[in-house]
């Protein structure tokens, strides 16, 4: 495998042994990752998009040397993560969104300083980078605050700042904006983009289950579900798969006979949600003409149309098209857009 790639995996897999429950004899296993082949180029901002439980964190843990794969192999910056984990660690850092770091009794500045020591930074370099990152995440005026007194969001920002202190070649961000407010998410995303653009050779792998985040940030996105990568391309190319399809969102009064829609000719994918007193139907249609039949079916089922919208394809539609179901019942926060 060649050195041009920041990350390369070949048939990478991970099986977890689950704790045996009482009464069970055979040990249970869970396949969290299976046959993952991927190549992330140097300088790329690469996204791993998938619902909860897809295996994103597992992949990140393997690449950051926290977890051994049970099959396949992986190179980070050309170095085998199993053979030489310490060499890998010199080049990387990781931030998990929703996590914090350090000790409550230390100030923000002291906590960050502590982590720089694990990378052998001199105090001068450490101070410079801490100042720079505190500025970025907007915690400069809190540098002397004990982290214990910070709000959860501020603690997450401090942890985000930590990830950049050793100036890693390859940075792993595991759902970095998880639980953060819209404004903060915006700031962090902008910085992430700038960080990759302005520093040649820096690579960033980001996992997310926010479609819009992947779409907006990433040069390329791998869609992952149940431990397997289903597609990998630029967001534009991924959406281009649905170029010829028509995507409609309908809202109707509550309907019950919805599965009849799947049988209609010309309906490639169909997803239904019940939302506060109405039914929301999402269709991927082979062509627009099918819509007429759908509207007939709604009427025949005793429903009334409340709204109808034709959409441009999103990554969510790509996911629906690939796996035939939505991204779980979580609301994807659409306010992340623009």
């Amino acid at each position: 495998m060649s050195q041009r790639f920041a990350i390369q995996t070949e048939g990478l897999g991970r099986v977890y042994q689950l704790k045996r429950k009482r009464g069970e004899t055979a040990p249970k296993t869970l396949v969290a990752l299976e046959g993952v082949d991927s190549e992330v180029k140097q300088g790329e901002l690469f996204g791993l998009l998938g619902p909860n439980g897809a295996g994103k964190t597992t992949l990140i843990k393997i690449l950051t040397t926290l977890l051994l794969p049970t099959s396949g192999r992986a190179l980070v910056d050309g170095i085998d993560i199993v053979q030489d984990p310490q060499e890998v660690r010199r080049r990387i850092n990781m931030v998990s969104g929703g996590e914090t770091c350090g000790y409550g009794l230390l100030t923000v500045e002291e906590n960050l300083w502590m982590f720089t020591q694990f990378y052998g930074l001199t105090d001068r370099v450490a101070r410079e980078r801490i100042n720079e990152m505190l500025e970025v995440v907007g915690l400069s005026d809190r540098r002397k605050t004990k982290s214990h007194f910070l709000s959860t969001g501020m603690k997450q920002k401090m942890n985000f700042a930590r990830g950049f202190l050793n100036d890693p070649q390859i940075l792993f961000l595991d759902e970095p904006t998880l639980g953060l407010d819209v404004q903060t998410s915006r700031v962090l995303r902008d910085f992430v983009k700038r960080w990759v653009r302005e520093r040649p050779g820096k690579t960033l792998l980001l996992t997310t289950h926010y479609m819009a985040e992947a779409d907006e940030l990433c040069d390329r996105v791998a869609i992952i579900d149940k431990g397997k990568i289903l597609a990998c391309d630029t967001p534009a190319n991924l959406k281009r798969r649905l170029q010829r399809a028509s995507i409609f969102k309908l809202q109707t009064t509550p309907l019950e006979m919805s599965n009849r829609f799947s049988d209609l000719p010309g309906v490639s994918k169909f997803i239904e949600h019940q939302r506060n007193g109405h039914t929301e139907l999402n269709f991927i249609l082979e062509n627009e003409n099918v819509l007429v039949k759908i509207l007939d079916a709604v009427q025949a089922g005793g429903g009334h149309l409340l709204s109808l919208e034709k959409r441009e394809p999103t990554l969510e539609d790509v996911f629906i098209d690939l796996v035939g179901r939505g991204f779980g019942d979580e609301e994807t926060p659409l306010e992340v857009e623009k």
Binding site: R14, Y16, Q17, T58, K61, T64, T65, L66, L67, L68, Q86, E87, R89, R90, I92, N93, M94, S96, E99, T100, C101, G102, Y103, L105, L106, E110, W113, M114, F115, T116, Q117, F118, Y119, G120, L121, K146, R162
Partner: protein, 274 residues
């Protein structure tokens, strides 16, 4: 050579970095004044009055005060050092330590040194207060040996603490009960408040696996050279302490590497709430 300098730099900085929160953090938490000095002092006072009521020789007072001061270290090892990795896991720090290109031993060493330094403040407070309150005088002849015994005791004790840290990480919550179980019996068999040899030869030998036992015994012999309460010859006790120091450090190192391998293989040890 270049790599060696780089690694040494990271090692030393890691020790410094990780000792800092214990050094500073522990002093910022003011409750230590009560728990770590007042409580040992209280136990010490009780024993002083008992010995006085029994008309024990006056050296017994100094003897008990020393035991009280050393209590601070034992409490620190059992409640801070041992539980540290477990806490690091629960707060999410452990995985951040493990992804850093640093020696894991340096992290533990940092914790230990920080804890030791912070605890010394407590131990000295107990020693000074106790000595003032009860008019204690020592008659040290060999300061060098006393210092050696003290340092060896701490090295061995914190080495043991490092081993505990890995075990606690492995056993999680159950380890807490274990620590509780350990605390009182060790006060008894290590002779914090009375000469250990009163327990008989075999119990004393058994108790010597806890470095405090011989540490206290040797220090007391050196503080009161004329008193006749030592268990074994000071030189033998020093040799045993040196042996324990090496043994515990080597074992702690092994345990830590094993723990990391286990964590990477099973994927559970660094995960919160597991």
């Amino acid at each position: 050579m270049k790599n060696f300098r780089r690694d040494l730099n990271i090692f030393l900085r890691t020790v410094r970095g990780r000792s800092y929160p214990r050094l500073i953090g522990m002093q910022r938490e003011k409750s230590w004044i009560f728990f770590d000095t007042f409580l040992p002092l209280l136990a010490t006072t009780a024993y002083v009055f008992i010995y006085r009521a029994l008309n024990a020789p006056p050296e017994f007072t100094g003897f008990v005060v020393l035991g009280g001061a050393m209590t601070a270290y034992w409490l620190n090892v059992l409640w801070s050092m041992a539980t540290q990795l477990y806490w690091e896991k629960e707060t999410g720090n452990l995985s951040l330590y493990l992804i850093a290109p640093t020696s894991r031993m340096a992290i533990l060493l940092g914790m230990a040194l920080g804890g030791m330094a912070a605890t010394t403040l407590r131990a000295v407070t107990v020693l000074l207060l106790g000595s003032l309150l009860f008019d204690v005088t020592f008659s040290v002849e060999n300061w060098g040996a006393l210092l050696l015994v003290f340092v060896l005791t701490l090295v061995a004790l914190y080495g043991l603490g490092m081993i505990f840290a890995s075990l606690f990480l492995l056993w999680g919550r159950e380890a807490w009960h274990l620590a509780q179980l350990f605390q009182e019996p060790v006060f008894l068999i290590s002779g914090f408040y009375f000469p250990v040899r009163n327990l008989g030869f075999w119990v004393s030998i058994g108790a010597s696996i806890i470095p405090i036992t011989f540490g206290l015994d040797a220090m007391r012999q050196l503080l009161y050279p004329q008193a006749q309460w030592g268990f074994l010859d000071v030189n033998i006790e020093i040799a045993v302490l040196a042996l324990l120091s090496v043994l515990f450090l080597v074992l702690a190192h092994r345990m830590l590497l094993w723990m990391e391998t286990l964590a990477r293989r099973e994927g559970r040890l660094t995960v919160r709430g597991q």
